[in-house]
């Protein structure tokens, strides 16, 4: 059985006329947690957006192979249906759409199966408990009036409810206090299993105290310049990214 879930070869992308990803290679297998670190402006968020298919970014070279399928030309919603998920750095506020209705709707779309109101509510409540979220969030409008931390928790809630095959967490830990980082990390750990993979994009080390990554990648100027284990992250913590620039 092929365990490979993501295979990126020489990925180059531009936004407007500026090239940002300049030949990025990355492989991920099921059951793995990867961390991607890099200085500001290295292209971390761009990479997350290109993976998910943001229309602003254009792929100019290379391939993204997800689940043995080249997805370069697949629309955002189809990528989600293939099992990809992005936890946004700045989640959008959607007034008038409750968290519960939205998630139930998304779950039905992704699975192609009806989700009974009560059965779904039960699952949602369990997951909210795991993330120490008050039940009242379910009936609030999606991200509207949420604090930064609440928005991030809400992203993780979506991840654990929608159960993707590959979750990309774009700076989910930034702006969170220690408690929130612990809660989010617990959510990620509970979600992680042999059948899915997680890519955590961050420029802090705090989350590494809670997660046990299989690989750490250093992204500088649109390329992965070094890959290693947790030790690599510790090195960065001490010395910064200077020596990779």
């Amino acid at each position: 059985m092929n365990k490979k879930i993501l295979d990126i070869k020489n990925l180059r992308s531009k936004v407007d006329e500026t090239e940002i990803l300049k030949g990025l290679d990355l492989e991920m297998n099921k059951g793995e947690i990867h961390i991607m670190m890099g200085p500001n402006g290295a292209g971390k968020s761009t990479f997350a957006n290109v993976l998910m298919g943001h229309p602003k970014h254009e792929i100019i070279d290379g391939e993204i192979i997800f689940n043995d399928k080249i997805i370069n030309d697949l629309s955002v919603d189809k990528r989600a249906k293939e099992g990809m998920f992005l936890s946004f750095q700045y989640p959008e506020e959607i007034p008038g759409v409750t968290v519960e209705n939205f998630l139930r709707n998304a779950k039905m779309t992704l699975t192609g199966e009806n989700q009974g109101v009560f059965a779904f509510r039960k699952v949602l409540k369990e997951k909210m408990k795991l993330l120490e979220m008050d039940e009242s969030y379910a009936s609030r409008y999606l991200n509207q009036g949420f604090s930064g931390g609440e928005k991030k928790k809400n992203e993780i809630l979506q991840m654990v409810v929608l159960e993707p095959k590959l979750a990309i967490l774009d700076e989910t830990d930034s702006g969170l206090d220690i408690d929130a980082i612990r809660i989010v990390s617990n959510g990620v750990k509970a979600f992680s299993n042999d059948d899915n993979a997680i890519l955590v994009i961050t420029h802090y080390n705090k989350i590494l105290d809670y997660l046990e990554p299989d690989f750490v990648h250093i992204l500088v100027d649109g390329k992965i310049v070094k890959t290693g284990g947790i030790k690599l992250a510790r090195e960065i913590e001490e010395k910064g990214f200077e020596e990779f620039k």
Binding site: P55, F88, P91, P95, T109
Partner: protein, 469 residues
């Protein structure tokens, strides 16, 4: 990326709304507007002399006033090409089985008889210029509630009609009020006696089937002291290539401690000029609540007005306007605070797409004696693409500074980032847009009667189909 579809069709099928019936009538006036035509309408209706005189006076005023130029362009509206009166080939009945088959089928597909059975206390149905069906539950009749067509009211309650008819909206108010005074026909009359609370709604539905025609129904509602009622008004028409005109008039009298909710879902076809005038006067401690949905029409000018003339009178306005291709919808709300401690809350939302134009025009006037009053106005606009337009013209006229006012206006576009966000959860682009639009109107939708909230969702679906791009 997948290639994006761009499949906009200029004349979207609006399903049941566009079902046309063969144009049949018992009597119709000639095209245009002359004193001869006005006299004929009055004769057809066997009206008393005072009403004929009123009509002719209104015609004079109409002829003396220029077409207003401060709003949408009305130059394409040619009164000489409009048929002002069409008596349908049906008599008024209290039994759907007596309504001619084709007309009954129209109202059936609009769900009116069904709604009557399930959730209404009374129903009126107008087809072209006359009411073809009117009925009210017996228990309301027993409590003294009157709900009937205006023609019957003219005969049975002539004194009340004479005392109130076009007193709130006089013919010299503006050109189309004068036109209404001259050629009005049909509409509903509601009288709720002191202390009677009608807890399920009454509904009148206005359908204009004839091409190149005008509809000028008059709605007069009097809610006596401490009484309550909810009145629902629905309007629709199939689309023709010639212009149609709607210049109705609504006059609402809300007495002391009384409460009236007036809900409208207007879904005229996109060849309609909707130049409608609605006004309410509210006495001490009384409440008027307007819920207004404007979806159809080529051009609309509609600004329901609340005159708060009794202490602590209250007005609420909740409105949604949806302007698509070829539509210029100029809507809003007017409030006059004419007594102390009066309150008004205006909440308006508009959506424009495919080159549609949605404008909020509001007036807030506070009289010198209206101290201690409060008003909040909130208008929000959402533009779905770069071709569409939206604007806000709030006019505030204060003659008193002991008043608390809040005003908020927001105009925005549907954000690409929000669409991306929703799509990243597996939702298609089309559904993502619909979700954002439905969310935007949600605070309004929940004010609507259930079947209209469903209709609102369907309309959004119809309007958004094929607008990816």
């Amino acid at each position: 990326m997948e290639k994006k579809k761009r499949t906009y069709i200029a004349d979207i099928q609006r399903g049941i709304y566009d079902q046309k019936n063969e144009f049949k009538y018992k009597y119709k006036s000639e095209k245009g507007l002359t004193s001869k035509i006005v006299k004929e309408i009055s004769r057809e209706k066997n009206e008393p002399q005072w009403m004929l005189d009123f009509r002719l006076k209104s015609l004079e005023i109409y002829n003396s006033k220029p077409v207003p130029t401060w709003g949408p362009d009305l130059s394409d509206l040619d009164i000489d090409n409009i048929v002002h009166y069409i008596r349908p080939d049906a008599d008024i009945s209290t039994d759907w089985d007596e309504v001619p088959e084709d007309i009954k089928k129209t109202f059936d597909s609009l769900g009116i008889p069904e709604a009557e059975k399930k959730s209404l206390a009374g129903v009126g149905a107008q087809y072209d210029s006359e009411i073809v069906y009117h009925n009210i539950k017996q228990e309301l009749v027993d409590q003294g509630v009157v709900y009937t067509d205006m023609e019957t009211a003219m005969k049975d309650y002539e004194d009340i009609v004479k005392e109130h008819f076009m007193k709130l909206v006089p013919p010299n108010d503006h050109k189309f009020a004068a036109l209404h005074g001259a050629v009005w026909s049909g509409g509903s009359f509601v009288y709720v006696p002191e202390g009677v609370k009608v807890d399920i709604p009454l509904q009148s539905y206005f359908r204009l089937n004839a091409p190149g025609a005008g509809q000028f129904e008059h709605t007069l509602i009097i809610v006596e002291k401490g009484a309550e009622v909810h009145f629902i008004e629905g309007c629709s028409a199939p689309k023709y290539s010639v212009n149609n005109l709607h210049a109705g008039c609504v006059e609402l009298f809300v007495k002391e401690d009384a409460r009236l909710r007036y809900s409208t879902i207007e879904n005229w076809s996109k060849n309609m000029y909707n130049l409608n005038t609605k006004r309410a006067v509210v006495d001490k401690n009384g409440t008027i609540e307007w819920v207004s949905g404007s979806f159809g029409s080529k051009v609309a000018m509609l600004y329901p007005m609340s005159i708060l003339r009794g202490e602590r009178a209250k007005a609420e306005f909740t409105g949604i306007t949806f302007a698509a291709n070829g539509q210029y919808l100029d809507t809003g709300s007017k409030v006059v605070h004419a007594a102390p401690y009066t309150t008004s809350n205006i909440n308006s939302k508009s959506i424009s797409k495919d080159g549609g134009y949605a404008l909020y025009r509001g007036l807030l006037r506070v009289a010198p004696n209206a101290h201690g009053s409060k008003s909040t106005v909130s208008c929000e606009s959402l533009m779905l693409d770069n071709e569409s337009n939206s604007d806000t013209i709030p006019i505030i006229d204060l003659k008193n500074d002991d008043i608390d006012i809040g005003h908020e206006a927001k105009i925005g576009r549907i954000s690409d980032e929000a669409i991306f966000y929703l799509m990243s959860r597996g939702i298609s682009e089309e559904e993502a847009k619909a979700m954002i639009v439905r969310g935007f109107v949600e605070p309004i939708a929940k004010e609507l009667p259930l079947e209209y909230a469903v209709e609102l969702n369907n309309l959004i679906k119809i309007e958004l189909e094929g607008t990816i791009g």
